[in-house]
């Protein structure tokens, strides 16, 4: 029994230490954004990489998510004779929930893993050390631009996801299943309120922070060799995805 308690204690302590390190990491990255503005070129590059290059995957995922919502929503609503509410069902599901969460998960898979791998390789090949020996702050070049770009880009990608998804639902509901287009649009406009959009923005902003935080941290502290980087990349993607879902639940319960 004492051995188990000892192991549990050690595990808790190491978990707390890791959490402390992670907190320090993001606070310093945010401080660097404010204190010494990121180089415009580095931030633009990250906006392009995390944002523009994710457009296609977001477009594709959003189209099919909207189309599936259209199909499933119609099937459910038809049972109650409320097919006219399809627009509002699709829009609310996307704006409040699926848009922020799925766009964040897609960005994690596409850009988050690449961020971890890039920083991890720079760590193991001493490129980060080289920056430090030049008396340059690695956070300014490697971490802060990515955090800033993620914060700016995630709400935009989420908005694109919502619009494309709503149109996907429209295509299936109206063009394929014969829902009245006026009803689809009007019910959507009637039911979506500012607070729904606000909750989507807050969620995607916080997801942007989670992705860049976890992925940069894991890369920055990658272990040795190719295996260390691969392990860091896997951990970053898994941890970001899980945190996004957990944080989504808490935010939903607060913002509902």
């Amino acid at each position: 029994m004492p051995v188990i308690a000892q192991k549990l204690g050690a595990l808790t302590l190491s978990l707390l230490r890791e959490m402390g390190r992670m907190l320090n990491f993001i606070l310093y990255a945010l401080y660097m954004i404010v204190r010494s503005p990121c180089k415009p070129f580095h931030t633009l590059k990250q906006l392009h990489f995390i944002g523009a290059k994710s457009f296609f995957v977001i477009f594709l995922t959003a189209s099919f998510t909207g189309m599936v919502l259209g199909l499933q929503g119609y099937y459910t609503l038809a049972k109650f004779g409320s097919e006219g509410l399809l627009g509002s069902a699709v829009a609310l599901s996307l704006i409040r929930e699926l848009g922020p969460v799925l766009s964040a998960l897609m960005v994690t898979g596409r850009a988050g893993s690449a961020i971890t791998a890039e920083i991890g390789i720079m760590r193991i090949s001493e490129q980060i050390d080289a920056l430090q020996t030049m008396a340059l702050e690695p956070f300014k070049y490697l971490v802060s631009p990515k955090v800033l770009a993620s914060l700016l880009v995630l709400p935009l990608l989420c908005a694109i996801f919502d619009v494309v998804g709503i149109y996907g639902g429209y295509l299936v509901g109206v063009k394929l299943l014969g829902v009245n287009p006026g009803a689809y649009y009007n019910e959507m406009v009637k039911s979506v309120e500012w607070k729904d959009i606000f909750s989507g923005i807050v969620k995607s902003l916080s997801f942007g922070l989670i992705i860049s935080w976890v992925c940069c941290y894991k890369g920055y502290h990658a272990g040795h060799g190719a295996e260390g980087v691969s392990r860091a990349t896997t951990a970053a993607v898994v941890m970001s995805s899980v945190l996004i879902l957990i944080w989504d639940y808490f935010l939903t319960s607060v913002l509902l």
Binding site: S125, E126, D129, A130, T133, A135, E137
Partner: protein, 248 residues
Amino acid sequence: MIKLENVTKSFDGQVVLDRLNLHVPHGKITAVIGPSGEGKSVLLKHMIGLLRPSSGQVIVDGEDISRMGRSQLNRVREKFGMLFQGAALFDSMTVFENVAFPMEEKTRLSRAEIGKRVHEALEQVGLKGVDRKYPDELSGGMKKRVGLARALLLNPRIILFDEPTTGLDPIICRAIHQLIKDSHARFGFTAVVISHEIPEIFDISDRVAMLHRGKILEVGTPEEIQRSEHPAVRQFITGSIEGPIQFV
């Protein structure tokens, strides 16, 4: 001047540096020799604050850098240049961008001036026409020379060379040694060179320190070290298999 006082460093319980003392005099070239895997690079990283000692002090120009915060440490690092064992070039930048990078970030020189200096530095290390190549298109020796050009470009007051000639052919090796010697004569920087190139390293260094089992066994002029009676130093210099240094 760099002074390491009772520096101990351990990784996961394994002691790499063991109450090590070393004094690197101002304006001299100090070579650190010793068997592979004995912590020479770890020692070098302590001098520039990339690693912090588990205990002991690292004093650079009278300031203990082992307990400094980031910004203070960066102020001290302004004095340094460093060539890494694996060159540590930025792999997403071309050779030109790699060498120009510290100058672009730390000076207000015009692009034309930076370009001129970068080309001069690359010529000095015997590299011409590789400006647009990426590090993964270069051989190990070429990477090292690019790293050397980058380290020398800002004329730092202290330069740390981590095996600057390992993996290079004898002609380039001699040329690099000559370059270090000439640059030192011209700019008078303090240098610490980690090397296995024996006896060549004795030609360029003012002092030689032998590191073994986490301690400095002996420090002296190249002549003193070559005359040393210490069995481990003798074994290392002569490259003998028999002796106190175990290679397995």
